[in-house]
Symmetry: C2
Subunit: 334 residues, 2 copies
């Protein structure tokens, strides 16, 4: 057995040496959809500093936690949050079972096609619409409803499927971080059960690494078979000051890298910034009216105002979509 | 470059072949502290069936979710939950700041050393004591308090540190599952912030894979520095019907293996059992009064009654601590 073991070790060492040689000889661009510039350079410098064992900023792999907002950071959010489009479709589908919605805002406005009226109630109203249309099913039933919708629905402007309106440069960033032993999480104001059915396929982020807003759940035995029923009440809003709370409850460690795009991400970025050692705080700034949308301080969806001021004051990385990204959406998909 | 690449692939293939030969030639016992018998055999058979690609029960690695209760399943829980011992120590330490505790149950009983009186209020009362003594600090401060206590406190009977009262056979099982690409989680009625500071070192389970009961958190800026403050209110009780809810909220997938030891784990085991394909439901039965403790149906701590009946009716694996385990606690530590 000793000979076999020695041969094995020799072969493994040889493989390791050759892999090392190959990686030096062929330094591939891990972020090909990013133009060379300050944003890309800041990402590369940060990852180098926390993964280089000789660096004073080295971080052990287990502590390489990266958190990403979803709407407007990993995929688009205009003209309105995609989950709200899903909820609208659900309101239409479920309206016959809810005659009371005809006289009850924001459902009444939605059913009349008046989006502005429905959105007037702000983010809390939006979340309430979402939860009301998401409740009353088991988690397995809801999972199927989401899978069916996401596989067929198309964006009103681009006609792409919603999962094809993810940002190619951010997909590359997620992969690059994981290749450097980061654990990548979503920390989104969106519904946790709306994201989980597709984030693994689309982003490579498994359900257990998705943090989001959630409704109450109830365990029941139905004819002896256990089910989890989605209840009407909101359980947790993972937005603004809720994001650091969601991070603590779900992850239990402070991220060393966080990426957002709106004021809803400010507290997550502050919480990330306040840790010791090297830190990376990034903001996707929507500046590209041609390839995507251009909006910030006054947008009804994804407003970026206070967080933009703080990013500039503290020299966080503000990604200028128009100049920093070679492509926005994945090519060849439509 | 082509030659280097080919050499690399050849070496890697050679290493792979030799590794295969070696693993056939030297089948190490992955569970050396388990006696040969039905329990060990059922674990080995289950892991073989879900990891063998040619098996009808094969489960892709990403879906190999295993959940473990903590108190009484991974470490001991007698004569009372270790977190309650911690809370007792905290009650004593914090009593000068809380004169009202002298007249308020269950604190009054605790301060008089009357454990039975304090425990009379049941699990909810226990959790309230825990939360009351755990609140008012920032999460960073609480983390330090736990680390200091766990590094110094000793069990009244064995005089071991509490982290040395973990079960050696279960440590081996956790490692064995991870070696087979399982993701191992704790799903405990215990406080999430009480477990996370030490589970990674002791069990190899990182904070983000710990699910537990939790208090409310509040994000605040203190002199411009963000903190998370532990508030008095309970946020979630991860026990009984709460366990499947905690699993869904934190993990978002149904486990294929679950291990518990008390009626508090029954719903988690039912939820696990109700999925499709091969399933493993295990219960640690405390039958060893000499090396550990013997208790089940009538125990004030960790009562095992309904879950024992259901385990027997449904042929779940009931581990008999006395006959199934060669050793209970890690050797050479005291």
């Amino acid at each position: 057995m000793k000979t076999v073991r020695s041969l094995y070790l020799l072969a493994a060492a040889l493989a390791g040496m050759l892999a090392f040689t190959a990686s030096i000889a062929q330094p591939a661009d891990a972020l090909p959809s990013w133009n060379d510039g300050a944003s890309k350079a800041s990402i590369l410098a940060f990852v180098r500093s926390v993964t280089d064992k000789s660096s004073k900023d080295f971080v052990p792999p287990a502590q390489r936690i990266a958190t990403f907002d979803n709407d407007g950071t990993l995929w688009a959010e205009q003209p309105l949050y995609f989950q709200l489009v899903f909820a609208l479709d659900r309101v239409k589908a479920l309206a016959p079972q809810h005659p009371e919605w005809k006289d009850k805002e924001p459902f009444a406005s939605l059913l009349k096609g008046d989006l502005k009226g429905a959105l007037a109630g702000g983010e809390r109203a939006i979340l309430e619409i979402v939860m009301a249309t998401h409740a009353g099913m088991t988690t397995d039933e809801f999972d199927k409803v989401v899978r069916d919708w996401i596989a067929t629905a198309r964006h009103p402007k681009t006609r792409r499927r919603y999962t094809e309106m993810v940002y190619q440069p951010m997909l590359e960033l997620l992969r690059f971080l994981r290749a450097n032993a980061f654990k990548t999480f979503i920390v989104s104001g969106g519904g946790i059960e709306f994201m989980r059915p597709w984030t693994e396929n689309v982003y490579g982020i498994p359900p257990e690494q998705v943090v989001g807003s959630s409704g109450k759940l109830k365990f029941e035995l139905r004819d002896g078979k256990p089910v989890l029923v989605k209840m009407p009440g909101l359980d947790f809003i993972d937005d603004k000051a809720g994001k650091p709370v969601g991070i603590q409850q779900h992850i239990g460690r402070r991220p060393i890298l966080a990426f957002g795009n709106s004021d809803g991400d400010l507290q997550m970025l502050q919480w990330t910034a306040a840790g010791g050692g090297a830190r990376f705080m990034g903001i996707v700034h929507h500046t590209d009216a041609e390839r995507e949308w251009a909006y910030d301080r006054k947008s009804p969806v994804g407003a970026l105002d206070k967080a933009l001021d703080e990013a500039q004051a503290k020299a966080w990385t503000v990604v200028d979509m128009k100049s920093d990204w070679k492509t926005v959406f994945p090519l060849g998909k439509k």
